[in-house]
Symmetry: C3
Subunit: 398 residues, 3 copies
Amino acid sequence: MSYDQLPLKIALLAGLDAGLFERDVLLSWHVSEPGIRAVLLASELLEDFTRAGLSPRLFDSGLGLSIFRDKSTRTRYAFRAGCNLLGLMTEEVDESTSQIAHGETVRETATMISFLTEVVGIRDDMFLGEGHRFQQEMAVSIEDSHRAGVLMHRTAVLNLQSDLDHPTQSLADLRHLTAHFGGLERLRGKKIAMTWAYSPSYGKPLSVPQGIIALMTRVGMDVVLAHPPGYELVGETLDAARGFAVQSGGRFSVVNSMADAFDGADIVYPKSWAPMSVMHRRTELLRAGDTPGLAALEREALDNNARFKDWECTEPLMKTTKAGRALYMHCLPADVSGVSCAAGEVSASVFNRYRHDTYREASYKPFVIAAMILATRFRDPAAVLDRCLQVSPSRRHE
Amino acid sequence: MSYDQLPLKIALLAGLDAGLFERDVLLSWHVSEPGIRAVLLASELLEDFTRAGLSPRLFDSGLGLSIFRDKSTRTRYAFRAGCNLLGLMTEEVDESTSQIAHGETVRETATMISFLTEVVGIRDDMFLGEGHRFQQEMAVSIEDSHRAGVLMHRTAVLNLQSDLDHPTQSLADLRHLTAHFGGLERLRGKKIAMTWAYSPSYGKPLSVPQGIIALMTRVGMDVVLAHPPGYELVGETLDAARGFAVQSGGRFSVVNSMADAFDGADIVYPKSWAPMSVMHRRTELLRAGDTPGLAALEREALDNNARFKDWECTEPLMKTTKAGRALYMHCLPADVSGVSCAAGEVSASVFNRYRHDTYREASYKPFVIAAMILATRFRDPAAVLDRCLQVSPSRRHE
Amino acid sequence: MSYDQLPLKIALLAGLDAGLFERDVLLSWHVSEPGIRAVLLASELLEDFTRAGLSPRLFDSGLGLSIFRDKSTRTRYAFRAGCNLLGLMTEEVDESTSQIAHGETVRETATMISFLTEVVGIRDDMFLGEGHRFQQEMAVSIEDSHRAGVLMHRTAVLNLQSDLDHPTQSLADLRHLTAHFGGLERLRGKKIAMTWAYSPSYGKPLSVPQGIIALMTRVGMDVVLAHPPGYELVGETLDAARGFAVQSGGRFSVVNSMADAFDGADIVYPKSWAPMSVMHRRTELLRAGDTPGLAALEREALDNNARFKDWECTEPLMKTTKAGRALYMHCLPADVSGVSCAAGEVSASVFNRYRHDTYREASYKPFVIAAMILATRFRDPAAVLDRCLQVSPSRRHE
């Protein structure tokens, strides 16, 4: 048990100038290096507290609100669980039963739901060019109302997946890697293959691969992005990856072959996403309410996808990875061939072998979210956790 | 900071015989004068506690349930935030997924959802003659089950907007006025123009203007109600306003001109509402399931509204108010001309100037709701807050 | 007040080897005799704590999740209230807005929603042969992930109504009987008539009567099941009832006459349910999406029901019970003749006389659910409650 290491880890956390207090977490590439490290370390500490039966309840009351503009099970749960761990009651702002969709400005709504709210988590990943913009507008509005003295405190906005990034996923993935390989330093030089994979569905967001390439390049990894022609990612995220690779002494390359990406990889992350052009056209068709156009686009996109059915994570491919034993990752749910679909992202044999690993990967998300709340809402997260450790409140009263 | 004044305010609260313990808050005009003052003062205290970082958590567990029969963002949030501030977990009784709509009697449901519930907040403002009746029936049923010993305690019913009144709004508005002008006494003699305004939508409830005239007349204000012919309010609320004006030494008058109402006003509250007759006919058409009839009524109502497009709160009109600087109020969302609609209740210029004021106005609602819970569920609210102050629990554990 | 008896009851609880720790509650007949007694006694203790103003809050944080695959008001509320009493925040996993329905395996979902979750309550009673299977699959998946070290603890699954059993209802009913008659021992030999009754609706689950016959036979009661031909219950539950009657020295018999069942009964429980064959055919038609077939089945089923309109709990029938004063029970909502329907399960006169009794019967459910959480999540429930009693935390801070 890591219980004995808690004071040491808290001391390490105290040494990091995260720069997240009274800020938002929208794009990981806008968070400083110590900020990334602080979230990772705080997440680990919150896991340790929980495993030791200690309660890191930091709020006596307060709200964590979520706005989901797309379906979600995992992230929805993770947000609730993370908030609850710290003592926040969660509520969902449901746009179908609320009045957000009825002529209200975002600015107004942002203030109206923030009076006693510590954090607002937003998932808005359906439309390229929209999700991040909306999250940003919410954050700016809250900032404005806080400065005007209308809001007693600066509610934080957390990106629970936008069109550009999915930082709670990528940070949970990074936490998974540090747990698996034994620390951030051990990741230096390791090859991770972030590759497109075939799926019989269309319209999947680009935010996961974008989040992965922009984050893993920061810790000195050898990040290889692989996809068929036409499945390029948003330029801003490629630029971020390139820049970080240079800064960290890692590498970033883009290839058009799954085999090349897998070759000698320590980690593989095969996952489907939609072509950017399809996402853009879909946004326009949705705005125009063009139902036949949408159906035609879906057929066209699926037909195009089908040209790349061989982009599947199979046992033979896995054999080509480092010692044939690369760590398989997925944000779930995966399209498993012969299980959830006839042909998909990964063969049943590979997936089953790594099933518990993918579950473990997901298990970090509630803690990463709680760590982000801790970092954005408390000036001195280390002091707060240290106080918790001294008081030693139990999560369960036994 | 008002921290030093807390003991003084608590002593003042102790001196008020609110008469709300184990009662409901359905209509403000059924609440005694000390009851109104107690809710206002308790609300102010809860704000002070929060600003001082103290936690007025009074419940270790317990539920606050809400039933929303109309869309809502603000009041829904305010109810949740107010409950959470005191330690209650909120849940929504969703009539579409629950069995309320399936042959159950209101009496039965009222009991079934009250066993461990401290407060039930209800919004039911769609049908004139219905909302208040439903809230009353819920309250009577709870009272009956409490007397029969089925319920361990007397769950309170709070009106979160009915066809007759919107007391959480009007009390928050009054709290806004006392904060803005420096106390209840300063409001005596001040002129408030509660006036109809044009909106390109129809079917807006009458409860806000009704709540305003019935409450502001009680504190000695000069309340002028203005609306075009045909937009009269429910008689019971006009009677209440007239009676209170006499008792308090204030004034109540009804005019048919926005200009007359604005002339020299200290406060203006321009807001659209539907004609009573339209609301009554709509109720009948809805009951009969007469879709073409509803469409015809909507057209007719909008056409009629359009005759009064000049009922807009403009800069020239604002210039006619007291020193040209009346306080503009709105319960939000406002129909802002050129922003949320082509022509509406208020010009963009006026609204933008007062935007933060309207946000501040809304900020009092969670505290007013918490104050109502405090007053209805605790025999001695002052003693409870005093104990909190002595123990000094923090809202955040820093 | 039972406050003085708390230590005694806690000592009694300590003597029961419930065998429920880190287990689920899916079928009452899989719970041991001491397990049943422990849940009953813990429920009574939690009521006593609440009545005495003490807070049995055992969790500082933690989640109670519910999955409702059928409409519900009472059980939904009871689950939330029971969780809240112990300090758990509740959330609902909504399959329409989440991704459960989108190709995910149950196994995966079970894990994804359990990371910081103490209990998952599931209602799945629509399809014979499905509900229990789903609950079991969830439990097995959680167990698997716990053993693999993915889940830090063993989340409990509670059956909030399946196709086979409704243990939170039957235990609440048993608690009602012990409260009414003065203890478990007083129930020995008492005659309870669990009888079918006419209802103008169709498709009601069989789980309530099945739960009642399988539980009441265990405490030595004389259980008489009555229904028209064709309304037989699932064999497994009849077998359980027969076996328990032998073990407990009680009796179990099946008759085809309401009058026979009522004759001399101490307790009557007249309630409608659907014929098993109809439920099976409905499942097939629903799977096939056969809308005309479903409509035809409904007509046929209602026509068949209508042959037994005389199966109504009337005053003359009530006169034939023990001293004409049998206790009337119902899980609510009841189909009351002349009130919620023209002709139904019970006459208005009988129902009104026992209305408060049925409300009281329902009042035990939140406590029974909390007792099940206590028994499944804490190794030593008695020690936990004893600690609460020593610390004496108040539910309300007055």
